[in-house]
């Protein structure tokens, strides 16, 4: 049985105060906080990546790096806002890496390209919406992933570092494109 501190007793302790305690080196606070927010984080990772395997990898990346990141949590943003920003950045990072991997692969023959194509096919086996979402440009997709998490536009704007108006425009644009994709598919 783990040592019970005040955090388990007072589950209403806010994310932000836990995060500040974790930033100051409190391991229990960190544990309680991550336990509380893990499912939400995984959900976002799923929407950002569109597959369970990718989402698990992304979540692992984030979990591994979070201890070092949280030391810089300064309490100016809500913790979930901050956490989701970390997640979106980590997702960008993974995509960049995948892209450079594909570039690097070109000199090595077709195997890597084939692997990526196989990955894409797997993704297409899931619901068309997920696949269609994957076809969206990254910025639209990230925005959608956040808003679909019932996050208000204002907060999504904060996570992405853009204006609320831009979030609304992106959602509108994303819906328009999804509709186009669906129409093309229906005609095909």
């Amino acid at each position: 049985m783990a040592r019970v501190t005040g955090y388990e007793m007072r589950m209403d302790t806010g994310d932000e105060s836990l995060a500040r305690a974790a930033a100051a080196g409190d391991g229990r606070a960190f544990a309680v906080l991550l336990e509380r927010r893990y499912d939400g984080l995984f959900g976002l990772a799923f929407r950002l990546t569109g597959s369970r395997a990718e989402a698990e990898d992304l979540t692992q990346d984030i979990c591994a790096a979070l201890p070092s990141k949280i030391a810089r949590f300064d309490g100016r943003a809500r913790f979930t806002t901050w956490l989701y920003r970390v997640a979106v950045n980590a997702a960008h990072d993974r995509r960049r890496r995948a892209a450079s991997h594909a570039r690097a692969a070109q000199g090595w023959g077709g195997w890597e390209i084939a692997r990526r194509a196989a990955d894409t096919e797997t993704a297409e086996q899931v619901d068309w919406l997920i696949a269609a979402m994957a076809a969206l440009p990254e910025d639209l997709r990230d925005t959608l992933a956040l808003v679909l998490d019932d996050m208000p536009h204002r907060e999504a704007a904060e996570v992405l570092g853009i204006s609320e108006g831009t979030v609304s425009w992106r959602i509108f644009e994303a819906k328009k494109r999804l509709k186009t994709i669906r129409m093309q598919e229906d005609q095909a």
Binding site: G25, L34, A53, A64, A65, L66, S100, A118, K175, L178
Partner: protein, 631 residues
């Protein structure tokens, strides 16, 4: 229109996280958190010993990875000492421990720092030892070795730590270390290392060259290239498991030095007498294996191997992907149709869960084992092996325990892309097995048919080599290759320290480049205030000591032999050509203007009978490398 969003919302409802994965991730985060908090207190003296085991493998991954791109900041030295935990490269840890002064570091240290930073492996495998080790290296302006021939890192003024941008990485990982430096005999007369029978590096290099690219320097482990080829060493007499042969020849690339070639030939017991084999194929069937060069090649390779098995041998197949499963229960090798049918049913799909599969494979092997039989797990993977997700220390202990109970582990790598060479090597080293890389059916033929007996039957375990050079004769020496196999001097006599095994009929070759006293090629000047000239006779170059254990035994046996000066002068042979080739690919600094053309000429002159055509292929590869390098 708003329906669309609701549809999407429903479709994108994330599945609940897998409970086990969730627990693993939470534990990982907590571990990193705790380590970060403690890291200030845990500075330990460096062990410059990348040996035995998974820890080591993981540490090597962290400290010596393939480099791509340029390093942008000198502060990376500081970052390395502190960072290393983050899989996401532009997250840099804030300083929690004592901060090192980023003294102007020699180029190789920067290169190494870059390699360490570049890895994208999750942090949990990090051994705290790596940090002081790096710190120590950064502080030592030593070693004439240059890690990689990449563009010299640009040195920019220190920047705020958060702004450091780290270079991109891919997901291939190669275990390597900076080339061995030249040692001054009077200061460090003793050189100790573990033998290495792996050949994976040669196959990876070949794959790169055949695909029209020079291999990256870190892909090249020279000893694995040299050991890829059979040599004509004298076989041991009587009951001895192996016999050392030492010869000295002029160095092809340096008139002022000599090459000391130490060849160790393992005995080939009468094949007819071999004990029955229990083989458990542990096959990676994760989604990424679904490519022509992977699962299909693997099936063909194992089918080839089946022809070599006897009726009393048994085969079982365990797969891992998502969940581990036994797809073929232990079956006598005589039932070839059953085994082939099970092989052909294998299908790639799902994600990788290596450790569960490994446990099941070992359990299967244990169930098959009977007195007097040999059990081995053969892991076949494209490198997507999740050793890191669970506790690496526990996994290492697990494999080592299985090894001690008599079940060995060999690792076969297939395909390229996310080949986790370092993890493969670490696993095989820990399991007393061989790591080989199979990219063609011909290579499968070599590893699984021609050399099957050696790969599957160990004749000596924990084979260590120690050479003491005589400072009265040898001024300087340099071990070519074996960078990842170096041992500490005191480990030689310590039977608890693991080392490599030799299989039946295997030959292992090690090459030293030595500079005789008084040679113009001597790189270091003698000390003005140094010790008085050392005693010792001048008729020995050095002294060779070998230690090994009988398989399954725990006490080592010592073999000693003097290396006479002037004796056994022979012509530099094929091994020298390959060692030179390897150094060219690594961008070694000791070759002067000796180039691919010289390597080709030397190799051609010593092709010998070349019954299997391996040497002829090597010459082709040298020619390819020559053309690619000239581009």
């Amino acid at each position: 229109m708003s329906d669309d969003l609701d549809d999407l919302k429903a479709a994108m409802r994330a599945p609940a996280p897998d409970a086990e994965t969730r627990a693993t991730h939470l534990a990982l985060a907590q571990k990193n958190f705790d380590r970060l908090q403690e890291s200030g207190a845990q500075v330990r003296p460096s062990s410059n010993r990348p040996r035995s085991g998974l820890w080591t493998g993981v540490r090597q991954m962290l400290t010596t990875l393939t480099s791509r791109g340029g390093l942008t900041a000198t502060t990376a030295i500081v970052a390395v000492a502190l960072v290393t935990l983050t899989p996401i490269r532009d997250m840099v840890l804030p300083p929690v421990g004592p901060v090192l002064t980023p003294a102007p570091a020699p180029v190789e240290d920067l290169a190494e720092a870059e390699m360490a930073v570049q890895q994208d492996r999750p942090a949990q495998g990090m051994d705290n030892m790596a940090r002081p080790q790096l710190a120590k290296r950064a502080a030592q302006p030593m070693s004439g070795a240059v890690a990689t021939p990449m563009a010299a890192p640009t040195i920019t003024p220190p920047m705020p730590r958060r702004d450091i941008t780290l270079p991109e990485a891919d997901s291939e990982r190669f275990a390597n270390a900076p080339g061995n430096p030249v040692h001054i005999t009077a200061e460090t007369p003793v050189s100790t290392f573990s033998i290495d029978v792996d050949t994976a590096s040669y196959a990876v290099v070949r794959n790169a060259l055949l695909n029209g690219a020079l291999p990256e320097p870190d892909m090249v482990r020279i000893e694995e290239m040299v050991n890829y080829f059979p040599y004509d060493y004298a076989a041991p007499d009587g009951d001895a498991p192996f016999r050392p042969t030492v010869s000295v020849s002029p160095t092809p690339w340096n008139a002022g030095t000599q090459l000391v070639q130490i060849g160790i030939q393992g005995a080939l017991p009468a094949v007819a007498d071999r004990p029955p084999l229990n083989l458990v194929f542990l096959i990676d069937t994760s989604g990424s294996m679904d490519q022509p060069g992977k699962l299909p090649l693997l099936k063909q390779s194992f089918a080839l191997m089946l022809g070599q098995l006897r009726d009393r041998d048994q085969v079982a197949i365990v797969t891992y992907a998502g969940s581990a499963g036994q797809v073929l229960e232990p079956t006598p090798a005589s039932e070839r149709a059953t085994i082939l049918a099970a092989l052909n049913r294998l299908d790639a799909g799902g994600s990788t869960a290596g450790q569960a599969g490994l446990q099941q494979a070992y359990a299967t092997a244990a169930a098959m084992a009977e007195e007097g039989e040999v059990s081995r797990v053969i892991l076949a993977t494209d490198g997507d092996f999740n050793v890191g997700l669970s506790d690496p220390a526990a996994l290492k202990a697990f494999i080592a325990e299985q090894r001690d109970s008599g079940t060995y582990l060999s690792v076969l790598g297939f395909g390229r892309g996310n080949l986790d060479d370092a993890a493969m090597q670490a696993l095989a080293q820990n399991g007393n097995g061989q790591a080989a890389y199979i990219d063609t059916l011909a290579e499968a033929q070599k590893v699984l048919v021609d050399q099957l007996t050696g790969a599957l039957f160990a004749i000596a375990d924990d084979v260590k080599i120690q050479v003491e050079f005589n400072p009265a004769v040898i001024a300087e020496y340099r071990l070519i290759g074996y960078e990842t196999r170096a041992l500490r001097r005191e480990d030689f006599n310590n039977d608890a320290v693991d080392a490599g095994e030799i299989g039946a009929g295997h030959a292992v070759t090690a090459l030293y480049e030595v500079t005789p006293v008084g040679s113009a090629a001597q790189l270091s000047d003698s000390l003005r205030y140094g010790a008085a000239p050392v005693g010792g006779t001048a008729d020995e170059l050095g002294f060779l000591r070998l230690r090994y254990k009988v398989p399954g035994g725990d006490k080592s046996v010592l073999i000693e032999q003097a290396i006479p000066a002037g004796a056994a002068q022979s012509e530099a042979g094929f091994a020298a050509a390959i060692a030179g080739f390897g150094q060219l690919l690594r961008g070694g600094t000791y070759l002067g203007d000796w180039g691919y053309g010289d390597a080709i000429a030397l190799a051609n002159a010593h092709k010998g009978a070349d019954a299997y055509g391996y040497r002829g292929e090597a010459v082709q590869l040298m020619r390819l490398a020559q053309s690619l390098a000239a581009r």
